[in-house]
């Protein structure tokens, strides 16, 4: 068992700018201070995040597996019933590993929202869609595109997309998909790379879908445990995540396509791609750290040089983002905040009522909460990496402890940039 029991550190105090946080990490804590208020916020937001995520992963897989190369996918967000009924591999009776004790099909709150929406009226799906009373799948796709575009973030998934084996697999699927469609086949003949590139993107749809399939039950379970009083501190919440990361690390990442009932394995499970290396770590890097500058905050003018020249230098993810403009133009996270707004647990709704503008600025208050919660998730990733690649926190060997510290410091160095929100979340007044 992973035991993040706090131990008194045997090393001299760290000289790092975030020494206090490093000591907290060395004691098995998180970057987020351990207060009941923080705990309530992050657990509540995990719950609110997990419900739309339950939609995201199903829809992502639907697009990767069924919609595939449809040139006019106007209805790609209209999820068919079998994808809503599709069993999550980590929840329900028949789970591979039962992380959440709830059911394996789509979450009931999600189903209710899809049916009645925020207008609380049962209307045809299309009307809900047109009224923008729906889950913002665009956000999930943007996360996927961030992973796809940044590509070079460890793991073997991305290099595989450039292999001849992959191209051959994709070629078979493309030809099968467009069978009997001479126009598209002709176009494929003319511009094969265009289609292959699309399939690569679809493989990332699958990748992210499989990643989130795991995270949704993890968050649901955390919410349930908190409601039952079984998670009482932020480090406990974090270690639940760390355990989850390990438990699920070996989950295969693949891309299957179903064309006329037949399965085409574009990326077969036998490639051995793993959830941790090929999905989770690239996801954290691409979405939490990098993404790309919001057009509403940075100029893309080439002469202004506000956008870095190297993808490595991109630091615009949720750990850095300024949440305050949420709701205005050019600030993409608004889509996610809006999605979470529908599913806030009552205690968070009540909590937000007490501060700032009460119900009026929930979108931003929950955005800040989300930022806090993602600092907790990042802490879990850092602790998990430390556990996997380095040494236990109570290791008797001071050299090992020093190695741990060097690792923590290296991780936090990325968060010393002025725009990082690590400083802000240390205080409860940032909301």
């Amino acid at each position: 068992m992973n035991a993040v029991t706090p131990t008194p550190t045997k090393l001299p105090p760290s000289q790092h700018e975030f020494a206090e946080i490093i000591h907290r990490l060395e004691a098995g804590g998180a970057m987020l201070p351990d207060t009941p208020e923080n705990l309530k916020q992050i657990i509540g937001i995990y719950k609110a995040y997990a419900v739309p995520m339950d939609f995201y992963w199903r829809n992502l897989l639907y697009i990767a597996e069924r919609v595939f190369l449809n040139p006019l996918p106007a209805f790609k967000y209209f999820l068919p019933q079998d994808y809503l009924d599709r069993h999550n591999h980590y929840a329900g009776e028949d789970a591979d590993l039962r992380i959440w004790r709830g059911e394996a099909t789509a979450h009931p709150e999600l189903l209710e929202f899809m049916e009645k929406g925020e207008v609380k009226r049962k209307l045809p799906k299309l009307l809900h869609h047109l009224w923008h009373d729906r889950i913002n799948m665009e956000f999930a796709e943007a996360c996927m595109r961030a992973m796809f575009w940044h590509r070079n973030m460890g793991g073997q998934f991305d290099p595989y997309l450039d292999t001849e084996e992959y191209v051959a697999n994709a070629d078979r699927a493309i030809k099968a998909y467009f069978k009997g469609n001479p126009v598209m086949l002709g176009l494929y003949k003319l511009f094969p790379d265009m289609f292959i590139e699309q399939v690569r993107q679809l493989s990332y749809y699958s990748n992210l879908g499989l990643f989130w399939e795991v995270m949704a039950p993890v968050f649901f379970e955390m919410s349930d445990l908190y409601d039952e009083g079984k998670i009482t501190t932020v480090p406990e919440a974090m270690s639940f995540l760390v355990n989850g990361i390990f438990a699920i690390a070996g989950r295969p990442i693949y891309h299957h396509v179903y064309i006329r009932g037949e399965c085409y394995e574009i990326i077969p499970k036998s490639k051995g791609f793993m959830w941790l290396y090929e999905a989770a770590l690239p996801y954290v890097e691409a979405v939490f750290y990098r993404t790309s500058p919001f057009r509403g905050t940075k100029s893309y003018n080439a002469q202004a040089k506000q956008v870095p020249e190297n993808q490595d230098d991109f630091h615009y993810g949720i750990l850095y983002a300024d949440v305050f403009p949420v709701g205005s133009a050019g600030i993409p996270p608004t889509l996610l905040m809006q999605d979470m707004l529908h599913f806030l647990p009552p205690y968070l709704v009540e909590y937000y009522q007490q501060y700032c503008r009460g119900g009026d600025d929930t979108l931003i208050q929950l955005g800040v909460t989300f930022q806090r919660s993602m600092y907790c998730v990042t802490s879990a990733v850092i602790q998990a990496l430390r556990q996997a690649l380095l040494y236990p926190l109570d290791d008797p060997n001071p050299e090992h402890l020093q190695a741990n510290r060097a690792f923590f410091e290296a991780q936090l160095n990325r968060l010393t940039r002025p725009e990082a929100r690590l400083r802000d979340i240390q205080s409860q007044d940032y909301r």
């Binding site: 106007a74 913002n136 790379d193 265009m194 057009r295 100029s299 133009a329 050019g330 600030i331």
Partner: protein, 611 residues
Amino acid sequence: MLQFLAQTAWFIPCYPLIGMVLSLLWTPSIIRRTGPRPAGYINLMTTLCAFLHGVLSFPTTWHQPPQYLNISWLEVSGLTLDIPLELSTTTIGAGLVITSLNLLAQIYAVGYLEMDWGWARFFSLMALFETGMCSLALCNSLFFSYIILEILTLATYLIVGTWFNQSLVVTGARDAFLTKRVGDLFLLMGVLAIFPLAGTWDYRGLGIWAQTATVDPTLMTWLALGLVAGPMGKCAQFPLHLWLDEAMEGPVPGTILRNSVVVSTGAWVLIKLSPVISLSPIALTTMIGVGSITAIGGSLIAIAQIDIKRALSYSASVYMGLIFIAVGTQQLDAALLLMLTYALAMALLIMSTGSIILNTITQDLTQLGGLWSRRPITGLCYLVGAAGLIGIPPLGSFWALLELLDGLWVQHPLLVGVVVLVNALTGLSITREFGLIFAGEQQQMTVRAPENFWLVTLPTALLAGATLHLPIILQRLGLLPQWSALNHAAGLLLVVSSIVGCSVGVWLYVSDRMTKPVQLPWVSVQNFFAFDMYTPTLYRSSIVSGVDGISRLTDWLDRTVVDGVANWIARTSVNSGELLKYGNFGQTQLYLLTIISGVFVITLLLLRSLL
């Protein structure tokens, strides 16, 4: 039915207006529990209605004399301000171009801005532009044209400012507003000055007046220059061209509309005013001069830009410059035709490059490359747009430029040279962009670059189709010259210049022969154009610092001299230092009040004795 639609064509601008008002529901505080996308859908629908209305009423106007309508607006002290409308093939045709481009731009925006939350504001502004431009097309009065241009100036400010959190957007919006406003105010001066002379603002009336008018030449020159200055700002002509560059901070879908049709609004007014302006030879020469400088300078600047959007924005100024030349030499038909062919080609170029920007993140031409094999549709659309922009037969602009050349051929050989040179330079400029984006090696940012999804790609492809079909439509409408009537020499010259320009572009930027980035041997010359001939610096050191300095001086005068003297008088006249400590309410103030009341009463008593 069709007749009814044709008669009610004045309603075309009202559809987008309805859309605009409805989409205000989603701006802050009204509908907030659900997202803002319906605002976009509503505007798409209203634009579609406007477009269909135009399409259906267009054929009935064909070969018919223009219809004139008057809508009364204001009548005051002998000044009657009716809104005169002209419903004719040209005006409804212009409305069609506007609504169709806006329709495509809005579909494009639904895709391009799918991650954006500012839909209501953005789409309502797109609708406002559509309303404004359609009414400008229909409206037949200088006064109302001025009103519309001024409202569009405000709309430009707001639409460039869509992403107002970003600092360069803020300055860009400011500069766009102020530059256009400067032009507008000159136009307003012209509007004010022409009325006492002509007694009307109706374009028809002005035309009739201009035939017989005898005005003091100096006055006429100033008046005509004022009337030209307004369109100069709108058309981003030198020296009022800077705003278009900065306006590129706005979202791409807005740019599509702005660079293709909004900039032409000025040219449209200019064409309408051309009988008046032609009363002043100096104004005509100025127009030709400004147009030529902008056309040549702009194409050189465009070649030196590293930002895709900016390179194209300077090409917009260039073509507006050509239109200035056309109007300046009284080639109104050529000007109108060029406006049409240019609008489609430029919109297409912006759409296809916008599609690149959307998912390769960077706008920097030096960071792109190697996209052809994976983005062939966008690449083809770009090529169609490029071919449609410069003089390559049989696409649209070839005919427009040919008509222009034909008109210049005999009397203005120098201008023929200018047009041909500009055509070649633009050819070079757009092949350069093509080479840097699509040819060459993949770079970091272009390794993963799939073709965009249908909401972005489909409107681009549709527009490419329209650009390709434009010559056929022109042929049907009888707007293309007969083969026998062609000026073959001019045509040949034009084709050769296009080929030369493009070949140089291909040689430098598409083939592997040259190392990128291509450097001129003279860095200072390259920088001179890359930094827009240093006009921003020039502005900062002249007008901006001038206004700033004078305003500071005024403020200083106000604080020290004016206020100081007043205080000094007060102090000495009341002659009580204590009284004027300007302290809190206290005895002194009470004292003062008593004095005033006393004076008041005494005056009354005095009066009694007086009378």
